[in-house]
Symmetry: D2
Amino acid sequence: MIKVGVIGYGYWGPNVARNFNETPGARVVAISDADEASLRRAEQSYPGVRMIRNDADLVTASDIDAVAIVTPVSSHFELAKAALSNGKHIFVEKPFTASVAQAEQLIELADRKRLKIMVDHTFLFTGAVKKIKELIDDDVLGDLYYFDSIRVNLGMFQKDVNVVWDLAPHDLSIMDYLIDKEPTAVMATGVAHFNNNLEDVAYITIYFPGNVIAHLNVNWLSPVKIRTTLIGGQKKMLVWNDLVSDEKIRVYDKGVEGMEGFEGQSKEKSYGLRVSYRSGDMWAPRVNQVEALRGEAAYFVECINNNVTPKNDGNAGLRVVRMLEAIIKSLNLGGTLVRL
Amino acid sequence: MIKVGVIGYGYWGPNVARNFNETPGARVVAISDADEASLRRAEQSYPGVRMIRNDADLVTASDIDAVAIVTPVSSHFELAKAALSNGKHIFVEKPFTASVAQAEQLIELADRKRLKIMVDHTFLFTGAVKKIKELIDDDVLGDLYYFDSIRVNLGMFQKDVNVVWDLAPHDLSIMDYLIDKEPTAVMATGVAHFNNNLEDVAYITIYFPGNVIAHLNVNWLSPVKIRTTLIGGQKKMLVWNDLVSDEKIRVYDKGVEGMEGFEGQSKEKSYGLRVSYRSGDMWAPRVNQVEALRGEAAYFVECINNNVTPKNDGNAGLRVVRMLEAIIKSLNLGGTLVRL
Amino acid sequence: MIKVGVIGYGYWGPNVARNFNETPGARVVAISDADEASLRRAEQSYPGVRMIRNDADLVTASDIDAVAIVTPVSSHFELAKAALSNGKHIFVEKPFTASVAQAEQLIELADRKRLKIMVDHTFLFTGAVKKIKELIDDDVLGDLYYFDSIRVNLGMFQKDVNVVWDLAPHDLSIMDYLIDKEPTAVMATGVAHFNNNLEDVAYITIYFPGNVIAHLNVNWLSPVKIRTTLIGGQKKMLVWNDLVSDEKIRVYDKGVEGMEGFEGQSKEKSYGLRVSYRSGDMWAPRVNQVEALRGEAAYFVECINNNVTPKNDGNAGLRVVRMLEAIIKSLNLGGTLVRL
Amino acid sequence: MIKVGVIGYGYWGPNVARNFNETPGARVVAISDADEASLRRAEQSYPGVRMIRNDADLVTASDIDAVAIVTPVSSHFELAKAALSNGKHIFVEKPFTASVAQAEQLIELADRKRLKIMVDHTFLFTGAVKKIKELIDDDVLGDLYYFDSIRVNLGMFQKDVNVVWDLAPHDLSIMDYLIDKEPTAVMATGVAHFNNNLEDVAYITIYFPGNVIAHLNVNWLSPVKIRTTLIGGQKKMLVWNDLVSDEKIRVYDKGVEGMEGFEGQSKEKSYGLRVSYRSGDMWAPRVNQVEALRGEAAYFVECINNNVTPKNDGNAGLRVVRMLEAIIKSLNLGGTLVRL
C-alpha cells in the first residue's frame, strides 16, 4: 500500500487526492495546504486523513511513501527536493520545475536515491492522446508534416506566470509524447496587454529534424474556448477537437499524391496545379472515455511497485521545461530563433 | 459606359468577366488568354465579345477604357504598366505586384496619367468584412488586442508561389482594412515539405503600435478547410467563421474587467486570480449576403466616373505587398523579426 | 431544519441525496434501498446517515419531515401515499404517478394533510428553461406558433416502460411550464422493434387552443444524442440546444411579416410568393449554469418553510401524467386523436 | 439528338434548361412561359432558342422530342397529357400530379404511346442518396428500424399548396427509393397559422411492414434551416446532414446487441437495463459532389435512347402522389390513420 501525501488543495489538488485515494494499492494519508479554507474543504471530504498546515511537516512525515506536489511551479523545486531527500517518490504538477537546472538537479537526486519522479502530464492518459499515439506508432499517419495546436479561452490570468507557462505545457507534453524526434529550435512571439507585463497571447513555433514543424497558439483573451490540434501526415491527417464529447478524433484519408512537373520550367500563364490530391473517407475511431487522472494514478503506483520508469518521468518533465525556457528566451528577445 | 478588357480567363477570370458584364455602366468588350481552351470557354459564354490571343493586343486596343488583369502575380507588373501607359484604368488581381518597387512604379505612373488602380481585395466587399469594419469604426469592440486568422485547406499548390503568397494576401488586405494602424514589424516561420522548396505551412506574426498583434496561420496541407478569424477588443470580442452560411460573425460581450492586485507582491501559494471577467450575451448581427465581386465591380465603375480614390487602390495593394516582402524575408532568414 | 429521507439510491438518487444534503435548511437523515450494493455505496458517501433496507421503515420514521421518492414510477403511488399518510412532505421523481387516478388521490391526500408535493421536473430549474420562460413571459417571442422537441439517443431501454414514459416527461413538463394554455388533444405514433413490445421510437403531437401545436420526437435507437427544441413565435423564434455548453439558446429575429394577396385569385403560373419575411440578427442570451437540482432542492425547502405552493406541485405532475395517459392511449389505438 | 422543350422558366426551370442543354445527346430547342419577364430572361441566356408565350404551342411543336414540365403541380396533368398525346416524352417536376387518378391516367397514356415519363425526383441523383442506397443494398445497415427526416426552414409560402405538398415530396421520393417495402398506412398532423388555411407545420408518420416506421417533420416557420435524416438499422445507423459541404453522411457502428431478460418477471426496484449496446467507430464515406440534375438529365436521355424504364418513372411519381393524397386526407380528418 503506497501511502500518499498531497501538498496543495486548491483547484487541481482535490482531483489528485480523490484519484489517488480511489486507486487500488494507494491511500491518501495526509494533505497539506497553507490556506485555512482549502484545508477545511479537504477535511470535509477526507474526515480520517491527517491535515497539515505546514508543507514541510508533510514531506518529512515518516508514514508517507510518496508526495503529490500540486502547487504553483515556483514552489515545486524546494518541495520536490525535500521530499526526495526524505526518501519519498514524487508526483509533480506540470510544468515540472521553473528551470532546466532545477529539473536536472531533481532527476539526479531521484536517481541517486532510487526514487520515482512522475510529472503530471495528464493528457498522456486521455483516450484521445492514447489513440493518436497508437495511430502514429502504427504508421497510420505516415511521416509527420506538422503538429498545429490551438489552446485559447478567456482567462485564467495568473499572477506570476504568462500564458505560455500556463497553457503551453499541455501541448508541449503531448507533442513530446507523440513526436519521436528531438526539437532543434523554437521561436515565439507574443504580447502583454495589461500592466502585469505577462504575455496573454503567444504564438510558438518548434522545429524538428526532417521538416517537421509544430505550432502552438495560446491565448487568454479569446471569447471562445478552442482546443483543436491538427496533425498532418504523409498518409493521413487528423483533427483532434477535445471539446466535443463524441468523435474527438477525426482521421482523414487526405493528402498530396504526387508533385510531378514542379521542377519544370513551363511558361504558361494559367494557375497551374502540378499536384494531385487524395480525398477519401473520414473515420472517427472510438475513443475511450476514462478519467485520465485515474489511469495516471494507477500507473504511478504500478511504476513504484514494479520499479518501472514512467513515460512521464523527470526527463519528460525536463524536456518540456527546456522548451519552455527556450520559448521564454525567444519571447524576451523579440522572436529570435533559439536553438535547443 | 466603361468598356472593360479582361486578361486571363482561368479560375477567377470568368467571375471577373461576368460581374463586370452585369454591372450597370460597364461592358466587357474583349477577353484575352494565351491558353486556347480558356479562350474557347470565354467565347461560348460571351459570343459577341472580341477574343484575343495576345495580351499585348488587348492593352493597346483603342476601344478599351479599363483593363482587368486576372493573371498570376508574376505578370502583373508588365501588363499593368502597359495598360496604364496606354491610358487605361486597371483592376488588378491580388497580390498587386511581385515587389514593392513594382507597386510604387505603377502608383506613380497612374498618378501621372490620372488613372485609377483598383486591387482586387475582394473580401473588403463581403458583408462580413463590411460588418466587422462597422463594428470597429463604431467602437463596439473598443481598443483592439489582437487579430488572429486561420486559413488552411488541402491545396492548391502552385508552381511558382508559396502558401504565403497564395493565401496570406486575403488576410493581409482584410487586416490592413480593419486595423487603422501601420504595422511596425513582421516575423514568419514555415516549412516546405516537397521538393519544390515552396513553403506549404507558414505562421506569420505582425506587430502594430499599442500592443496590437496579428497572427496568420496559412497551410496547404490541412485535411479540413478552416477560415476563422478571432478579433479581440477591450469592449467586445468577435469570431468570424467564413465557412458557415448563417451567423458568420459572432460578437461576444466578454472581456477582462479589472486587474487589481496584479502589481502586488502577495506570497500566497494558491493559484490566485487577480482578474474579473465579463461574460455576457452573444450576438450575431445579420450579414448581407451579396456577391462581393459584384459590389466591387460597381465600385470600380463609380470610382472612375466620379473620380474617387478607391479604398483598395494602389496604395492598399502596396501595403499588402510590403508586408508580403517582409514576411518572405523573415521566412528566408529563419524567422528573424523584420522591421517595416 | 427539514430532515429528509431518500428512497432509492440507483442512478438519480445519489444526485438527489447530495443536493438535499448541501441545501441550507435541509439534511439527509436516512436513505433506503432494497439493493444491498446501492445501500453500501450510500453508506460510503454518508457515513453518519441511517441506512434502511426496507422502504416502509423510512416512510414511517418519526424523525423525518420530508421524503424524496427516487424509484421507478410503478412504486411511486404506494410510497407517496404512505409518506403523506405519515405526515411527510414528498419530493417525487417524474413522472409523478403511473395514472391520473393515482395522482388525483395523492393531491387530495396532501391537501387534506396540508403537506407539500413537489414533482421533480428538474428542467424547470435549469438556466435555459428559466431564460425561455422569461422570454415568453416578457412577450419577446410574441404569440406562440409551435413547440417542437427532439430527444433521442441510444438507450436506455428499461424493462417496464416504453420510450414515451422514459423521455417524454421531460418535454411535457417543460412544455406545461412554458405554454400557458391547456392542451386539447394528443396523438401519438410509434413502434416497438424488440420482443418486449415497448415502443422505442415514438412521435407525439399535442394540440393547444389558438393553433398552437407541440411535437415530441423521442427515440431510444438514435446513433447520436440530440436535445433540440424549436419554439416559433410571431415576433421571434428560438432554438434551444441543450447539448452545447455555451449559447444553448439562440433567439432569431425572424418571422413572417405579411401575407397580403393570399386570398387573391391570381391566375399566374409562376411559383408566387405572397409573403414577406423578416430575417434579422441572432442573439444568444447568457444562460446561468447552476446545477438545476440544487435550485430545486432549495425551492422545496422554501416552499415547506413558507407554505408556498410549488410551481411543480402535484397538479403540475398530474397534468404531465394526464398527457402521458392520453399519449399511450393514442399509441395503443394506432394513432387516434385523444381529446383531453 | 433529343430535342427538348422546357415549359416554365421561373425558379427551377433555368436549372432544368441549363442541364438539358449541356447534356450530350440533348439540346433545348424551345422554352415557354406565360410570364413576359421570365421569357425575356430565358432569351438572354439562350439567344438561339425559340421563345413561346403559349405553353400549348410548345407541346404541339413538331420539332420537339421531349417536354420538361417545370410548372406548379396544378398544371402538370393537362400539359403532360397534351405532350404525351402529341408523342413527346415527358420530364415532370415533382410532385408528379395533383392526384392519384391523374398519375394513373398519364402512366396508362405513356404506356400506350410507348413514351417515357420521368419525374424530377432530383435527390435520387445526389451523391448522398446514391451512397445511402448503396449502404442499404450492401446490407451495411442491416434490417431497417426507422427513417426520420427533418426538413424545415423559414418559407417559402406558396399560394396554393401547403407545406406538405411543398416539402414532403423530397423526403417521400427519397424514402420510396431507399426503403424496399410498400407503405401500409400514413398519419399526419399539422396546423395552419395564417388565414390562407394552408398548413405551414406538419408531422407525418408512415408505416411499413416489419415494424419499419418513417417520420417527416416539415415546417415553413423554422428560424433555422435543417435538412437532417436519421436512418436506424439493426447493424448500423446513419445521420445524413445535407447542409454541410463535407461529411454529409456519418455511419455509426452503434446499436442494440441483445435484449436478454426482458421477458423476465424480476421484481427488483432499480432501473434495470436488460440491454447491451454496441458503440464503435464512426465513418464518413466520401460522397460524390456532382450536380444531381446533371446526372438526371443524362439519365433521361439514356432511358429514351436505350428504351430503359427510369427508376423515377411515372410509377415512382404515382407512389409519391398516393402517399401525399393519403397524408392530406389524414390531415383533413384530424390525424386519422389512413391505410394505403
